[in-house]
Amino acid sequence: MDKNALFFTGDTCQTIARGVGFRFEDLTTMFFQLGEQQRKELSARGLRPDDMPKRALVQVPRVNQLSVNYRTHNGILGAASQIVSLLLELFPHSVDALEKDVGHFNGPLPTLLTDTSKDDLSILLCGSDPQHSQIEFGAHQVVLVRDQVRGRLRSAQWRTLSAQWTLSAQWRTLSAQSRTLSAQWRTLSAQSRTAEDCEGLAHADSRLRSSCPL
């Protein structure tokens, strides 16, 4: 078996499982050390690495950074990369230092609701007239919460609030923009995914051939 026919993928900024963390930098270090150890063991047995088939030797894997983001636009990516900057500064050993990823489009910046304090909420709720809401709120939207129990209790409250907010002119403008963008993305990401898959397959295929010299 080819010891190097392994493929790892991931984003270290998304290692949110409690107590679990990894960096690609740590993985490459691990492979380097395994390689060193293997060389020592070989020389103890009077063997040189050149005597071994290449696939039996542990090599340091090549790291490819995917720096084009096909999911979203630069409005969201800019804010996300500001969070990564904080992580890199405060916890440099916790994430890989990578190039900032870029998208194919510019888009709306994340919106921070700052005027909706708890006191304002009741005004919002009482003042809302969701029956006139034209917005579609379906499977393409998600409300993200910390935990499901609290989220469920609050989702009714949240729905009323978002109904109120979605009525605002600002929202309608944003939605119109985003629908156009969405359509563009769907086309583009479909294209790029196909391209990626082909590349991935070609890569896997060459790997396979190099590991089965028949």
Binding site: F91, L113, P130, Q141, L144, Q148
Partner: protein
């Protein structure tokens, strides 16, 4: 508890049908998924990190900006004249600059909290969680939070960096 949230129980029934079906997921559940729009609800209010921990953000970006070449001569002069610890002096020099920048923002600059890797280790996980939540969206991210003190440092940071819009 639901009654606390809604002044009238009837308010829920008055909601449009499409809103009744709003999908609510935890950030863990949403990991690896994507949606057009993400509404992040009470991320800070329900955060295990306290407001002091979140305020580390303010001292962090203020410090890195102080190290930048755009640093004013006056701020450097203050730093030189001061016999105090370098780190805290940097934060207070940044405070002065904050006031000028903050004048254009609707959000008041939080008081910076100096960083201690052990005491504020929770922030590591929290920032990754926030990153994960935001990057679920293809089109739009809306962050709504009821905890003014806890949300302020990150809101302020993103607004100063011109990386978010104040939706009021």
């Amino acid at each position: 508890m639901l009654a606390d949230c809604l002044p009238h129980q009837a308010a829920k029934e008055r909601l449009p049908a499409e809103l009744q079906s709003a999908l609510t997921l935890t950030i863990f559940e949403a990991k690896g998924l994507e949606f057009d729009d993400v509404f992040l609800f009470n991320f800070f209010a329900d955060s295990p990190a306290d407001d002091r921990t979140w305020r580390v953000i303010t001292s962090s970006w203020a410090r890195s900006r102080d190290e930048s070449p755009t640093d004013t001569a006056a701020a450097r002069e203050r730093e030189r004249a001061s016999g105090r610890e370098r780190c805290s002096e940097r934060a207070s020099a940044a405070d002065v600059a904050d006031e000028a920048e903050g004048a254009e923002l609707s959000i008041q600059a939080p008081r910076p909290e100096s960083f201690d890797r052990q005491r504020h280790s929770l922030l590591n996980e929290e920032l990754k969680m926030l990153y994960t939540a935001m990057t679920r969206a293809r089109v739009k991210v809306v962050i709504y939070d009821q905890h003014e003190e806890k949300r302020r440092p990150l809101f302020h940071y993103l607004l100063v960096k011109a990386s978010a819009a104040d939706g009021h």
